[in-house]
Amino acid sequence: MITTIVEKELKQLFTAPFAWILLALMQLVLAWVFLGHLDAFLEIQSQLMQITNPPGVTEIVVVPVFAMAAIVLLMVTPLLTMRLIAEERRNHTMVLLVSAPVSITDIVLGKFLGLMIFFVMMITLLAGLSFSLIAGGTLDFGLLMSNILGLLLVVACFVSLGLYISSLTAHPTIAAIGTLGLLLGLWVVDIVASDMDSFARNFSLLKHYDYFNRGIIDSFSIVYFVLFIVTFLILTIRCLDGERLRG
C-alpha cells in the first residue's frame, strides 16, 4: 500500500516542472560552490605539499560543499513539503485517501518516503559531483560516506517537520512559511549553540550535522536525528487521525 502512495507522490512531483527546476537550480548552485572550492584548492595545493599530513581534497572541497548543501536544502524543503497534505486537503482529495482501505500510517509514510526518494536523487547528484574528483586524485571515502549519511538524516528531519506542519493547515503557503520559520529557528539555535557548553547545542540539527560533516559519526547524533524524524511522523499521524474525531 505504501508503494502505491509513494508512486503517486513521485508521479505528481515529476509531472510538474517545479521539481525539475529545483533539481537543476540545486545542481547549479552546488556546482558553483564546488568549482569555487576546487579552484581555491588548486591554488594552495603547492603550499599544502610542504606541511606534514596535509588536508586532502575531500576536506577542502567536498566538506564545504556538503555544509552548503544542508543550508540550501533547509531553504528548499519547505517548498516541497508544503503541498504534501495541505494541498490534498484544499483540493478535497484527502477524502479519497481516507475513504480507501489504507491506514493513516501508510499515507504519512508513503508521503514521507516519496519525498525522501526525491532528495536521495538530489544527494546522488551531489555525490556524483564529489566522485568526479577521482579523475584527478584520491578521495577519502569514509569522510564522503559520513557526509552523505549526515545529509540524508538531516534532510529527513526537515521533511518530517515539514510534513507535520503541512498536516496542520489547508493552505500550502502557510505550511511553507511555518516550516521555513521553524527550520530557521533551528538554525538560530545552531548559532546560539556555537558556545561549546551551551545546552542548546544538543538540540541544534545543524550542529549534529556538523559532526557528520567532519567525519565523526556520533551515536548520540544518530539517535537525535532518528528521534526527531519519528516524533514528527507520529505527530502527523496523530493529527490526521484526530481529524476524524474532531471533524
Partner: protein
Amino acid sequence: MAFEDIIMIKKIASITVCAQNLCRNFGAHVVVQGVDLVLKQGEVLGLLGPNGAGKTSTLRMLTGNLAPNVGSLNICGVDLLGKPQNAKAFIGYLPETPPLYQEMTVDEFLRFVAKLHRMQCHEIKVALGDVKQRCGLSGMGKRLINTLSKGYQQRVGIAQAIIHRPSVIILDEPTVGLDPNQMREIRSLIKELGAQYSVILSTHILSEVEAVCDQIKIMHHGRIIFADTRAGLQQREESLEEIFSQLTSSNESVATKDI
C-alpha cells in the same frame, strides 16, 4: 481477508449497511442525532433533506471520514469503527466535491484509485475499461482531469467510486452541476448499480429520488423524520413533495416529531 471469505460474507449477509443510533456533534452543535439505517443488497436509499440537515455528516460517518460520538456501524458484517480498513474495502464513496487529482489523466487517476483498493494488475485493466464504458468516459482516458468539463469531472468522480466494485456505493449529490441529459444518464447508471449493489444517495432533487430509490428517508435538524419505501408512497398515493415541504418547513413542532 481471503477472496473466498469475501464471497461468503457477500452471500450470507444480504444486509450491507447497518447503522444504529448514530450521533455526532461539533462542540455544542448537534449535527446528527440517533440516525438508524439498514440497507440490503440491491436496494437504493435516498437521503433527502434541506441544507444543513446532516446528510453529508451522516455519509461521512458511513464512510469512515468522521467518527460518530455514539452509535455502531456495520458494513457487510464488518465493524467500521473496529476494523476500518476491512470495512472500507466494501465502500465506494463520492463526496460532495469529487476528489480528483487535477494534474493526472483519467486513466492514471482511476488506476491509482484501483490500486489503493488493492486490486491486482490484471483486474485493473478489465475494471478500467468496464468503468469507463459505464460512466461514458470511453475515449477520455488520455485527457488530463483539469481539462474536463464539470460534468465529465463528476463522471470521473462516480467512476472512482465504483471501479473496485464495492458492495456499498455512497454518492453525495451526484447530479449537481450536470445538464438534464447527463442527469438522466447518471440516474440510469444509479438504477443499474442499484440492482447489483447497495446505493445510498443524498440529494435535493425530489424527482430523482422518486425515479431511482427503493427506500426514502428525510432528514431535518440531524434526525430522520420520515422513512418509507417508494412502493409504500405510491400505494398511499402521497406526493413526496408535499410530505417534504410539510415536514421540513421551518415549523419546529412538526420537525421534532419522529416517524
